[in-house]
């Protein structure tokens, strides 16, 4: 990866430049959050969110959670890279 010209800094910039994820559930929460409460009611609430819409939002969040979990698993399998030019002063011995 680094042989292809991608440096640690450019990788960091690339990741930092990713736009924040936007899921249906987040939009629903912004649109339907009742005043004085954290969350809209899922069923029988006055906000009138259709059941199908809620189901779609849950499906998307569940899938996103699963993708994140798999990504985290893959990251744990990466070969460690010694950072010889980087000093962490807090742990300096």
């Amino acid at each position: 990866m680094f042989d292809a010209g991608l440096t640690l800094e450019s990788l960091r910039d690339c990741l930092a430049g990713l736009p924040p994820v936007e899921l249906k559930g987040m939009a629903l929460l912004r649109e339907r959050r009742p005043h004085g409460q954290f969350f809209p009611q899922l069923e029988g609430g006055q906000m009138g969110i259709p059941r199908e819409t809620i189901a779609e939002a849950v499906t998307e969040i569940v899938a996103y959670t699963e993708r994140c979990r798999r990504a985290a698993q893959q990251l744990t399998k990466l070969t460690p890279i010694p950072l010889t030019t980087f000093s962490i002063l807090e742990y300096g011995l």
Binding site: P20, M26, R30, F39, E43, R51, A55, V58, T65
Partner: protein
């Protein structure tokens, strides 16, 4: 307005301005059980926990309903009842959450003709199986079924389900059930046979397949019951069935073990009583498939 209440609203609104906090809030709202592990629930014997894990991926709207009920303080029994009821509405009959952990629960409707318990439980079948030379004797652990009974049963069932008259088709399905050749696993397999097959998982494809399987089995069993009733109530049809069984047995006997597919001419009467005019008193020349089952 209470100042403290305002602070609460301010904080809630501020959280929605930050993408990461909005995501965290959305997860807390829609998927609060995201950390639950199906394996742990199974190991702990937590039926409701396992049901929540399964509904989370297989039935997200049921999961949402369950989460809402948990937030409103529903008891475990109420949750059990809600989840079972909702899953049953989707075409998977479920009486108890404890069965969820073993995959999609399926009920076998099939029978084993050599099992003497069958005839104790269903004495109404005795006149019909007698036509095929199956005669259960008391004190015997096994009922003898003639070698050609299954072949003949399949040939006759195949012929009947191809008739135009819906009621003859129903008799055909009754025979298909009796000789385990309907093509539907739930209709053809008894509990013991079904237990030997790995259960269907709760993934999307297996779920769609299970719903289709159960729906088809319910339709066939409805026809089976109607067909058995028709045979009980219609002595003419019963006599014709007997004649066709004998004809089929003779044809099979003439084969003398040959593997060629027997050609048998079977005739079925029009069912005049209560007929809606759909019956056709035809005869047919059948090329019987050996792999019809």
């Amino acid at each position: 307005m209470n100042d403290l209440f305002d602070t609460f609203g301010l904080l809630a609104a501020a959280m929605l301005d930050d993408p990461m906090l909005t995501l965290a809030n959305a997860v807390a709202w829609l998927d609060p059980l995201w950390e639950m592990n199906e394996g742990d629930m199974y190991d702990d014997g937590d039926g409701v926990g396992l049901a929540l894990c399964i509904t989370r991926s297989a039935f997200p709207d049921i999961y949402v309903g369950a989460v809402e009920r948990i937030r409103s303080g529903a008891s475990e029994k109420e949750l059990d009842s809600f989840i079972c009821g909702e899953i049953s509405k989707r075409g998977i009959p479920l009486d108890n959450l404890e069965f969820l952990g073993y995959g999609i629960p399926l009920t076998a409707c099939g029978i084993e003709l050599s099992d003497p318990d069958l005839y104790a439980a269903r004495p109404d079948l005795l006149p019909m199986v007698d036509l095929f030379g199956i005669r259960p004797e008391q004190e015997h652990y096994n009922v003898e079924v003639p070698d050609c009974a299954y072949t003949a049963g399949r040939i006759i069932a195949d012929s009947l389900v191809q008739q135009d008259d819906e009621r003859l088709k129903q008799v055909g399905w009754a025979l298909a059930w009796l000789f385990s050749c309907s093509g539907n696993t739930l209709v053809d397999f008894d509990d013991e046979s079904l237990a030997e097959i790995p259960p269907l998982s709760w993934d999307e494809n297996d779920l769609a397949f299970a719903i289709e399987l159960i729906e088809e089995a319910n339709g066939i069993i409805g026809d089976v019951n109607a067909g058995l009733t028709l045979l009980e109530e219609n002595p003419i049809l019963f006599a014709v069935l007997e004649a066709n069984i004998q004809r089929t047995y003779k044809t099979i006997a003439k084969q003398k073990g040959k593997q060629d597919e027997p050609r048998i001419r079977l005739e079925w009467p029009p069912l005049i009583t209560g007929s809606d005019g759909a019956a056709v008193p035809d005869s047919e020349l059948l090329l019987v498939r050996r792999d019809a089952a």
